[in-house]
């Protein structure tokens, strides 16, 4: 992107504001902030790492005047291109603001800065006998700000919900540089528009979330874990349906397909049957007696649906062992081919067999490898495409296959994104899900908050 004088001047002012240590326009740093965890890349003009809300507000005022694109970024672990500076501009790294400001055990809320790593929040809660449930796979590195921007999910979504369910309020710097406070510290509020939820999942296009009031809950006292392996995916799917309709809501209900099971075996040889069609990892939690009774019921349901191997963990070691397959699933798939593309098409959970079958047919049609694993309880699958980006011909097939996977998810009443967001990679599919009116309303919201379209431009909407 051609730097003009206005940009150069404003970047200079920003550098003076934050200090040289927290500003860079070196080619090395621009290369290092050109990506997230997708294959998309674009060079920013500069990188700033502000330390306070006030600095951010000042930067936004100047950027808005100069119409300089600003791209907020946490740890850069996103899976939809959300923090890739597709139109150049200033990448704003928010990891410096990493304090837990307050934890209120009487009122079950905490106030944190946007740059706190999610795992830190979970650990802090665990220490105190509480739980912050959203657990995206990236939680050891990703920031709470990033989780909010993408409305990140995780393994515990079925029973405990996702990031949006734990955000009570926030401090946000608007694209024009104003500081807005939303929400409350109370369980209930009926005051005005629910602006808090407007910013959750807004992918850094509406404002820069600087402080967040998060809800937490008491930690469950007991966990039960069960591994069930099936020769027929339909039986696994029936098991999921039967568990839910029996009234049991497992804390975890994870699924691995045939290809993933075999990738795990190739990678670690943990003794999974290679002819298995599906594997379920199920956990119940809560009051000990309840969790035990529930896992008993789940076990019965698995038996009835012809699970041919059932392993229940009696000790922490056994629990660790039955988690092995799920834990290594992604690494195992990632080692098969040089490029791994992780999608998050999501369907109503009853449609999982249709989705897996459909994805397998798409893989066959385009002669590519796709492994499926994910969160069976909430229908959030991770079709994982194993390919080599350098093979142009194969990659064209991959792109077509991805298009069809999203079409299929929508056809089955699902969504193009369960927990990764739209970003740049899925923008073209948005109208298919939300319709023309949906796009138009969203664009109006965007315009109302960001009249000059400077905050994370080029995301969510095809311009």
């Amino acid at each position: 992107m051609q730097k003009n004088k206005v940009f150069t001047d404003v970047l200079e002012k920003i550098k003076n504001l934050v200090g040289e240590e927290y500003f860079s326009d070196s080619l090395e740093d621009r290369l290092c902030y050109s990506y997230d965890a997708t294959i998309d890349e674009a060079l920013p003009d500069a990188i700033v790492t502000p330390g306070t809300t006030e600095e951010i507000a000042q930067i936004m005022k100047w950027a808005n005047q100069a119409k300089l694109p600003v791209i907020p970024r946490g740890a850069g672990t996103g899976l939809s291109g959300g923090s890739v500076p597709v139109q150049g501009g200033l990448v704003m790294v928010l990891t410096r603001m990493g304090r837990i400001i307050e934890i209120n055990e009487a009122d079950y809320y905490m106030v944190v800065e946007n740059g706190v790593v999610t795992q830190t929040i979970c650990d802090e809660m665990e220490k105190r006998g509480f739980m912050y449930p959203p657990d995206p796979a990236s939680m050891k590195t990703s920031t709470i700000g990033g989780n909010i921007a993408e409305n990140a999910g995780g393994l515990r979504g079925l029973k405990y919900g996702v990031t949006k369910d734990y955000v009570m309020g926030m401090e946000v710097v608007t694209p024009t540089g104003d500081i807005l406070h939303t929400g409350t510290r109370t369980v209930k509020t009926a005051t005005g528009y629910n602006l808090t939820q407007l910013f959750v999942g807004s992918e850094g296009t509406l404002g820069i979330v600087t402080k967040i009031t998060l809800k937490f809950i008491p930690a469950p006292e007991h966990k039960e874990s069960l591994l069930a392996i099936f020769k027929d995916m339909n039986h696994a799917a029936q098991t999921v349906a039967d568990i839910i309709s029996s009234g049991v809501v497992p804390a975890t209900l994870e699924f691995l397909d045939h290809i993933t099971i075999n990738a795990v075996e190739d990678f670690e040889n943990i003794g999974l049957p290679r002819d298995a069609d599906a594997l379920l990892l199920i956990e119940t939690d809560g009051v000990k007696e309840a969790a035990m009774k529930e896992i008993g019921r789940v076990e019965e349901i698995c038996r009835k649906n012809q699970a041919f191997r059932l392993e229940k963990a009696e000790t922490e070691e056994q629990r660790d062992k039955i988690w092995e397959a799920r834990r290594t699933a992604f690494s195992a798939l990632a080692r098969v081919r040089p490029t791994t593309i992780l999608e998050d098409a999501t369907v109503p959970r009853s449609r999982i067999p249709d989705m897996v079958r459909g994805v397998n047919e798409i893989a066959k049609k385009y002669n590519i490898q796709i492994g499926n694993f994910g969160h069976a309880g909430d229908g959030n699958l991770h079709p994982t495409i194993l390919t080599d980006q350098r093979d142009k011909e194969e990659f064209e097939r991959v792109e077509k296959a991805i298009d069809e996977i999203f079409e299929l998810a929508l056809k089955l009443g699902g969504t193009i994104s369960g927990e990764h967001g739209i970003g740049s990679t899925k923008a073209k599919f948005m109208p298919d899900e939300v319709g023309d009116t949906g796009i138009s309303v969203m664009k109006n919201v965007k315009k109302a908050l960001d009249p000059n379209n400077i905050l994370n431009p080029g995301k969510m909407f095809v311009s």
Binding site: E28, C32, S331, P338
Partner: protein, 368 residues
């Protein structure tokens, strides 16, 4: 640019997930993407794709890698970052990118004096007891290493006394002992490192050495990786652990302290020696051994490899490890590596932290 062509497949495999951020000690203290495997890999790709030259910035990004290999453990596709970065360092030097001044001094010192501390070669064995100054043919060679010979004699003296007490027949090379080659590999001077290795191997052959034993973790790793065709390398704790198990060595004096063992990367992740030092410490009566939450394969580097080149960074990382030990209530932080010892002490001093940091060997000697 034609650059590390045989490592391109490793570079391509990086999926940019960012998991390395959590495990990279350099990233943890800097927060900068150019100081973590994902960023370093992106820069190496940029060099290959002619997006950038081998600038000072690119070089520094690569040279600030600790080579601790922690990121490989959490990397989903398992990119061999350690090997990749060593290759990149070597290739940069070959392409004519000179090392920064202070690192080049270390390199020259090894070339001229066979140690990275600019000390005289003829002074290397000055600390040794008279009967250890001259080499003789033997089954065991005790290699002290540069750090112990020039900086931490106390460790070496303890080892000699323990070996003598256990009745092990061993020899040392005295002033003829040379650098194992490790710092040269770390700086990318593979050529000189290999020369050094050949020279050492010739000496070992001449003396009929079967085992090279050493209290230096860096030397141990290098022996394991580059000398295993002619000798059997042992970290000294492996030998001591074996002697205890065979009943040839035992601890009679209690040591009533809460001790935390620090897995240095060279003895641990690289050398794959995790249990022996723990077994030894647990065999000492009264000693209460506790663990870092991240231990063994997942242990976090102390920053030691950067002490000579980026001391401020190295000390910051070390201070974090020392603080962790303090928070866990440890009375003594025990290491099995002179570099870890030196750097952790430096880190504690710079950060004003009070912690008793010791090498394992003086503790063993005291308990015999």
């Amino acid at each position: 640019m034609n650059f590390i062509p045989d490592r391109v497949e490793d570079l391509v495999r990086c999926m940019k997930c960012g998991n390395c951020q959590e495990t990279c000690p350099v990233f943890v203290v800097t927060g900068k993407e150019s100081r973590v495997a994902r960023g370093r890999i992106r820069l190496l790709k940029a060099v290959i794709n002619d997006e950038i030259e081998i600038t000072d910035g690119v070089q520094e990004s690569v040279l600030t890698c600790l080579q601790c290999d922690a990121c490989r453990i959490t990397c989903p596709p398992g990119v061999p970052v350690h090997e990749l970065l060593l290759a990149a360092k070597a290739a940069m030097l070959k392409k004519g990118k000179a090392l920064p001044e202070d690192q080049n001094k270390l390199r020259i010192s090894i070339k001229d004096e066979s140690n990275p501390f600019a000390q005289q070669k003829g002074e290397r064995g000055a600390w040794l007891p008279p009967d250890m100054k001259e080499p003789k043919p033997a089954k065991y060679l005790l290699h002290a290493g540069c750090a112990i010979s020039y900086a931490s004699n106390r460790i070496g003296k303890a080892v000699i006394r323990i070996l003598q007490k256990a009745g092990i027949d061993f020899t040392m090379l005295g002033d003829k002992e040379e650098c194992c080659g490790d710092p040269l590999f770390r700086m990318g001077d593979t050529e000189q490192a290999e020369k050094q290795i050949e020279k050492n191997k010739a000496m070992y052959k001449e003396l009929g050495i079967e085992y090279v034993i050493t209290p230096c973790a860096g030397c141990f790793k290098t022996f394991k990786e580059h000398y295993s065709d002619i000798i059997k390398p042992l970290h000294i704790v492996q030998l001591f652990d074996r002697l205890v198990k065979e009943g040839k060595m035992s601890f009679s004096r209690p040591f009533k302290k809460k001790v935390i063992y620090f897995d240095g990367c060279d003895i641990g992740r690289h050398g794959e020696v995790f249990e022996e030092p723990r077994e030894l410490l647990k065999a000492i009566p009264g000693l209460d051994l506790i663990e870092f939450p991240k231990n063994r394969e997942n242990a976090q580097c102390c920053g030691g490899p950067l002490l000579g080149s980026y001391p401020e960074l190295a000390r910051k990382i070390a201070a974090q490890r020392v603080q962790e030990a303090i928070d866990l209530g440890a009375e003594i932080l025990v290491v099995a590596c002179p570099t870890c010892l030196l750097n952790l002490k430096e880190g504690a001093r710079a950060a004003g932290l009070r912690m008793d940091i010791q090498d394992i060997n003086p503790i063993i000697m005291r308990a015999l």
